[in-house]
Subunit: 357 residues, 4 copies
């Protein structure tokens, strides 16, 4: 199943060292002005080679729209797109052909399919997320007319953590730092933490926080497709994600009900909640408050150290991969988190149009 | 969308104070011996009134199979079932007709649909999970032939936490305690914590850990439907869930890659990993090791204290609900977590039959 | 897959001699006034025992709504319903347990599933269509507010055919005759044709024509889910249907393009077509003209004559079924055709709400 | 919804005068040897310019595989492909920008989406079927290992009809004639009929018959997704199709049950039916006999004669299109019918793997 979404649907394709990465967006409403420059900017936030924190692989990742847009406007027909692969060094992976890299997808792909394209991780490469960023960028453009905003940022690298709520941060500053942390002081510490790992041939994980503002009230299906369940599903589908929590999250599960409940108040702007432990979602449905959640990313599995592994025949081997890789996935994952969030919100936004007669 | 699953699909129905709760299971393979007694036992683990820790509402929750089973065996046609409502006190809710209970689904349902069945929470009641338990019980019966095991237990109540891995616990003891914690000493502390909350008219949250053993290698779709993404989706769809993490989870995101990676070793039983930070899933696909994950539940929103709220017209009000409710959702949620896990695994198990020619 | 529709979805269950027939309608918009009496009237049009043309089995087929309707109005949650079986004579089928009735589903069910509920045809019985009639009745109620009308009638029995377009008939007279033909003279001939077959222990097929009026412009998805493709799919899924054609149909394929094309004209009521060979659908999308189509039904397979067959072990046998059966499916199939048409139209009507930003 | 199929799924994209036509095949099993040459041959059967009967537009229609195939074998990941547009004369369509061609999709697209790519019909062009042919070719390659065969042929052009069952024809001769009729004498008459229409600037319709051999017993879902319902859905989704009938079809609806029923006989090769009015499908499930059906195509709407129409503002206009078009869609539609049939069969073949435990 390489399709995501029910009404606004992305079906994606492509391998790391194949011809390219791309997808088809079906169900995009007609009449949306598609700003290709903005899509490209989102891809630039994700692409390698953008800063000293990221792999020197210099992938330009230029988007080409193949269908569905006529004179700059979506026509209601499928929007296909591709980003052609350019800077692949397939030879770097020749020695990995018959080996399973620890904590990668090599072993399970091989067991599941009986065959795998080993070059650069094939389909399991994080290059696959390019298609998500494109579809998310278009989802954002649809939602912009509703005023919906998406702001993700790195809130923890390893043990280096911002100990503030998003409400205390100026989220407009996230893009000012390579690490994509809106707190400049913490950004510097995070940067140093990543460089430390890189210098050791090692890697480091962390957490991205995402805030969605101005979500219309009423989005979400209240049983199996609660809005947070679909957001969690989207985030857990991103490479390297280990956990998801929304609103008060795991910390909130330690509170008493009387402390945790969000009391309603009548304000000039309508009904509001005094607190927002619910994270903008009650009974699986958005209530108009900010939606916020955390996504935990494991340290990247590609390290430049000797590790034990086995080959296809089950022989014990030592592996020490070559290649060009990030030491921390977090900074480049920020636009991916936003993209997946936008796809979930736009899908529920469209679905909600059929809720009432 | 009241349907869960792609091949083994549950579509559920029912409100707390309507005629009953039920569902249709479509895609159940033909030839499965359906043990109705076992289904009933799973319902008994979920039902109210089973111990001093649960609400005194005495709902017998007897299952009735309506179709799809002939002479004790599934026929491949839809298995419909119902659990008829019996012990409802709708009058208890009369005073809630026009009020929105804080941190409940009342406000958002009303905003989304323009109408709601307020009696007992209507469709948003946790009684809805009855249908999940039935479908999960059948999923378990299908997987039993493959040796797959499901063991969930309460690992934390409020701040009272088992500080041991599941590997150090005897999971066969979980059902020995009302609180469903396999460590007898911690079980007693958790029980006391719940009773303390109950005595205060308050509530408390916590964490359920679930372990799935003997999962066949190769389950999971590697992009949007990674096995852990579908498990997370399933868990986050359960009422009151705030977070999901698998394998090393959020703690693992603090580790370095060299410490986190699971090296492969060749053993007499085939390829294994030395450690299992991956939680049995790599690249979204099961690798044959134990799958384990944590699910965080918020404190129940129904507390017996005065709280501020508003009514349908936006007038400020004070609410103090009556009715009969648990002080902690955790003990009764254990079978629900297992049921949702079983539905995800059986769905991927069936889907995987089409992976190779 | 016992689910029909994408947004307005019916999932059905039940066997001929099980506890009942029913279903769950998911995706019905909130706020629809559900007229149970009207649903019952549609069931009465389908039920056996309604006239001398139908089987003397006297099935009352009373609908019971189980969920999703509160104070007479749909709440947006699943509408479950059941029609409990009453007048089953399972013993009539005991001798069919190990035999395959010619041109029935017995052999293929057994081959597919390895097990079958032989009593009354089990799931393959036309009693299954009860669920369709209920869902279709609700679909009609939703569409009534848009002015959409559904008029099906029997246009041919065996060789006895109305040789008039629907435009020359008074469709309000369809229900005046047992055979459901709006032309009284032809109705009598059709009735005699059916009674002739019945007296011979034989059966007869024919054609139902259906006209849908006042369909909003723009319904239908133009590639795989053309409106007529989804209508055809719906009709071909009804028991005993052998063919579907819309607009000019197979006869139209004999015409030249210059005769077949529907020229556009500007009128006071907007753009119209001079002719309507397109049957109200162009490029898979409704154009505002009447939609009309024909559905061909084979003669019922249950005849009261000796026929050769085999048993489960492949032994040659002679079969001569007992039981109570119609000699012609057409009169009772009229409401089923309308119901399936209404489900298709309402599904596309709802889907179309997401077409434009 | 530009996706076809449930397990083996084609999502297609592209407009007549855009960058190209293509698609993503998701759910193709791993391990299938993909013969690109065979795919190209199927495209050549469909492409314009192949004979004197088809438009002189010389579209090479070369397939490019973009992903999912590694060293000639499917990997289980999505197979994306494109056929780049080359020989488009967009200027031919400039004068159609604001006009609605009669019996085309122009008017309904415009009404539905509020915008349309008018060049060459945009998405509504029959060039869209290129993607179907590619996916069908791969479906055939999967099914070849099961011995399943697909043979479609032109059985009628206008009134010129083969009055023989497929059993009396040598279907290996279909490709010998430009018109794709296996009876050489009738082929010549059909050819003359098409040329007559072309010389008049007019067009002609007809019927394609398709025979599927060696279908495994047990394919099809017995309620809404009967095998013939899904075949009918697939065929009615092809441009210009007006009707579908299978087995005895509409003629069979004139027969009595005693004449129509297919009695079972025990043979050395297992259970067979004496006749095959069921068209290889009983109760919606394949029974191992040949599946055969007819598909009716209307005359192409593009004629080179003056016709009345309106423009976007509703003004009356006369239209007389230029451009290069076939006078009859039938010969080139033969591979499309086979392709859609193969997609339906492979989808049910894969789905059926999950039917029994």
């Amino acid at each position: 199943m390489n399709t995501f979404g029910k009404i606004f649907r992305l079906t994606s394709f492509g391998e790391s060292h194949g011809k390219g990465i791309g997808g088809i967006i079906d169900g995009c409403p007609a009449g949306v002005e598609i700003d290709v420059h903005e899509i490209q900017q989102e891809l630039n936030r994700r692409r390698p080679g953008q800063s000293k924190l990221t792999t020197p692989r210099d992938e330009k990742d230029r988007i080409e729209i193949l269908s569905g847009v006529f004179e700059g406007v979506s026509t209601g027909t499928p929007i296909a797109f591709a980003i052609w692969n350019k800077d692949q060094h397939s030879k770097d992976y020749g020695n990995l052909k018959d080996l399973f890299r620890p904590s990668h997808a090599d072993y399970t792909y091989y067991q599941k399919y009986g065959i795998r394209d080993h070059r650069g991780g094939g389909r399991s490469s994080a290059r696959e997320t390019i298609a998500r960023v494109v579809a998310g960028a278009i989802a954002k453009q649809i939602l912009k007319s509703q005023g919906v905003t998406f702001n993700a940022y790195v809130s923890r690298v390893g043990e280096v953590e911002i100990n503030k709520s998003y409400l205390e941060l100026d989220l407009s500053k996230t893009e000012n730092t390579d690490v994509r942390c809106p707190d400049p002081e913490m950004a510097e510490k995070m940067t140093n933490r990543i460089l430390l790992a890189a210098n050791n041939g090692d890697t480091v994980g962390g957490v991205i926080t995402c805030v969605i503002g101005n979500v219309p009230i009423g989005l979400g299906e209240p049983v199996f497709n609660k809005l947070h369940a679909d957001l969690g599903h989207a985030m857990l589908g991103i490479n390297a994600v280990k956990g998801f929590e929304y609103g008060s999250g795991f910390e909130g599960t330690k509170m008493s009900g009387s402390a945790h409940n969000d009391e309603f108040v009548s304000t000039e702007e309508g009904v509001k909640t005094k607190t927002n432990n619910s994270g903008g979602i009650q009974g699986g449905i958005s209530n108009g408050e900010d939606i916020y959640f955390n996504v935990g990313f494991k340290p990247i599995a590609t390290i430049f150290k000797d590790q034990d592994t086995v080959d296809k025949e089950g022989n014990s081997m030592v592996i020490n991969p070559k290649g060009r890789h990030d030491a921390c996935v977090l900074p480049r994952a920020v636009p991916i988190v936003e993209a997946m969030a936008a796809m979930v919100i736009v899908d529920h936004y469209l679905a909600n149009k059929t809720t009432r007669i």
